[in-house]
């Protein structure tokens, strides 16, 4: 398995609190992605990064911010969690010379109550 670790794996938090999810890789891959998965919606891209300090928005970026200060770490922050952000979050990495696959972490189940 590709060296990609998400933490925490499970989290319950209250509405209005900030939450940070971490994705850590040991593969030195350039690209990193955050997705959320909800029933009926498949995987939706939140934010992605194409290098240190280089990030861009995906299709559902509102309410989320990201940071990548090192190649190996990509952080996803919910500034003020809402119930609509209850979801399973997946991080993925890719070398991305447009010919390569993405490797996924095991997911973080976030519940906002």
């Amino acid at each position: 398995d590709a060296g990609i670790t998400q933490s925490p794996r499970h989290k319950v938090t209250e509405t209005g609190t900030p939450v940070t999810l971490r994705c850590h890789q040991t593969e030195n891959h350039r690209y990193m992605y955050w997705y959320r998965q909800d029933p009926g919606h498949g995987l939706r891209l939140i934010h992605y990064s194409y290098g240190v300090k280089d990030t861009d928005k995906g299709e559902v970026s509102d309410g989320y911010s990201v940071s990548r200060s090192k190649t190996e770490d990509f952080l996803l922050t919910l500034e003020s969690a809402t119930s609509s952000q209850t979801s399973v979050y997946f991080c993925a990495i890719s070398e991305r010379d447009r010919e390569t696959e993405a490797f996924f972490g095991q997911g973080t189940r976030l519940t906002v109550v």
Binding site: Y31, G42, L45, D56, A92, S94, E101, A102, Q106
Partner: protein, 112 residues
């Protein structure tokens, strides 16, 4: 809206039969990939087909790509119980960005 849409949303077949699922997308792409997700797990890459390819095989998997129709199909032959999973297509958009966007998935159930 999402780039990819899989069809059908759910499929149940008997073990040993072939399973076909389809993916439609909206924009010009560099390549299209298929992934599998077992319940509660992360996605696992199955196969990648480039935009200039029309068909590709890998073991029991056969993928076709029709860029004129913006569609792809995944065929799993001689299905096994272990093939029970959700299957997603993903597209690498040809816009100069690096987005990898996924469809909504097909839930495949193999009946022993």
């Amino acid at each position: 809206s999402q780039q990819g849409e899989e069809d059908p949303q759910a499929l149940s077949i008997q073990e040993g039969e072939n399973a076909t699922m389809n993916c439609s997308y909206k924009t010009s792409i560099n390549n299209l990939q298929w992934y599998r997700q077992n319940s509660g797990r992360g996605l696992v890459h199955l196969i990648l087909i480039r935009s200039n390819e029309r068909e590709k095989h890998s073991g029991r998997l056969r993928v076709t790509l029709d860029t004129s129709k913006k569609s792809s199909s995944l065929l799993i032959t001689a299905s096994r119980a272990a093939d029970t999973a959700s299957y997603f297509c993903a597209t690498d958009e040809n816009f100069g960005n690096e987005k990898l966007t996924f469809g909504t998935g097909t839930r495949l159930t193999i009946i022993p």
